[in-house]
């Protein structure tokens, strides 16, 4: 038989429980810690005020207690991470804009103003061997590795803003996953290439007094002069040292990130990632210039690294001292 009194009693119990649990749901944060200012709790996606984020600003990490040897896992909140994230979301993006589209625009302007650097005397149709097989191999080993690293690295920084809207979620995920693996492992041929280049070319890239004259004459790129140069001119020497020093910096910081926390703590890891990105972007800017002048920017230059042989007139105009040296070796004075 239907008992109304039981229903009323159950309703009262339900109402009492609703009031009690409702009250508990609203007040726990400041009920447990009366020093903290009361903040509204809205459920999911709490804002900074709700999680008291400002209380940890600028302070050391909030550390918990763990029973595994990896003490880093005990760190719960680390305010420097917020600064690091803000850098990646702000200044770093502008740095990318300056070093990639910015440099491309400068190169375009240079092309429009200066035009292509031509061989003044025209082609001699006589060739001279500029780089041997091994030199070209190590150049391309480094160059192709660098290209993969640069593209996959840029994707780490601006991929979500640039690539994602173009290719969609699925393709972006695939490309980014492949890019991350490529970045980790193509780093090794890049490092090998940098080491090889250093040992093979360093003796031709030591600074000399005539390098100052080369810069003073604009390297033959600005003005009509053709400053003297050996196997490598001052501009190429600069590229060499950018690759060697920049490549070493990228390798060391990259290895530190490949083996996280092996040499430093979380603050150090954040600093390393900032340094790695900074060196990489400077190197990208320099290499864009190198690629331009080595291919479409100068007549007769690209053959040095494709076939290894260059036109004699090109060699005389840009590397006169090297031509004299090679000629003297092949035709020694009687």
């Amino acid at each position: 038989m239907f008992d109304l009194s039981k229903v009323i009693a159950a309703s009262r119990t339900l109402l009492a429980m609703t009031i009690i649990f409702g009250f508990l749901a609203i007040v726990p944060a400041h009920a447990q810690n009366p020093d903290r200012p009361p903040t509204p709790v809205t459920g999911f996606n709490p804002d900074k005020a709700e999680v008291h984020a400002d209380e940890f600003k600028g302070g050391g990490p909030l550390v918990g207690h763990i029973v595994i040897p990896d003490q880093k896992a005990a760190s719960l909140i680390q305010d420097n991470g917020r600064t690091w994230r803000d850098y990646r979301r702000g200044p770093l993006l502008w740095f990318v804009v300056a070093t990639v589209p910015g440099v491309l625009v400068l190169l375009l302007l240079f092309r429009l103003i200066r035009g292509r650097v031509m061989i003044d005397g025209g082609l001699a149709h006589r060739l001279i061997t500029r780089f041997g097989s091994f030199e070209r191999f190590m150049h391309w080993l480094t160059a192709f590795s660098w290209l993969i690293l640069a593209l996959s690295g840029l994707n780490e920084i601006v991929g979500r803003r640039v690539l994602l809207p173009l290719v969609g979620n699925e393709m972006f995920t695939t490309l980014s996953t492949a890019g991350k693996y490529a970045h980790n492992f193509v780093a090794f041929p890049f490092m090998i290439g940098v080491v090889l280049m250093f040992f093979v070319w360093v003796r031709h890239n030591l600074p000399e007094m005539r390098d100052i004259d080369w810069f003073a004459q604009g390297g033959g790129l600005i003005g009509a002069g053709r400053p003297s140069a050996g196997k490598f001119n001052a501009g190429q020497k600069m590229v060499f040292w950018i690759v060697v020093l920049g490549g070493t910096g990228l390798s060391l910081t990259g290895l530190a990130m490949l083996f996280p926390f092996s040499v430093t703590d979380i603050a150090g890891m954040q600093l390393i990632s900032v340094v790695h990105g900074g060196i990489a972007l400077l190197m990208i800017a320099a290499m864009l210039g190198h690629i331009y002048i080595g291919t479409v920017g100068m007549e007769g230059a690209v053959e040095a690294m494709t076939t290894g042989d260059v036109d004699l007139n090109w060699a005389r105009e840009h590397h006169d001292l090297w031509v004299e040296e090679v000629t003297a070796k092949s035709h020694p004075a009687e």
């Binding site: 040897p69 990896d70 070209r136």
Partner: protein, 44 residues
């Protein structure tokens, strides 16, 4: 052009070797060390 192709082959080869060495041996060893519990129980 031959040297360009050879360089690409070398990049692929060195990368695969690096992948096998690192992901096959080094990373599992580090992860095993970093996550190994030293004692079991409720922390004091």
């Amino acid at each position: 052009m031959k040297m360009m192709l050879l360089a690409l082959v070398a990049i692929a080869g060195i990368s695969v070797v690096a992948n096998v060495v690192l992901e096959g041996f080094a990373v599992p060893a580090v992860v095993a060390f970093a996550t190994k519990a030293t004692r079991v129980g409720v922390p004091e």
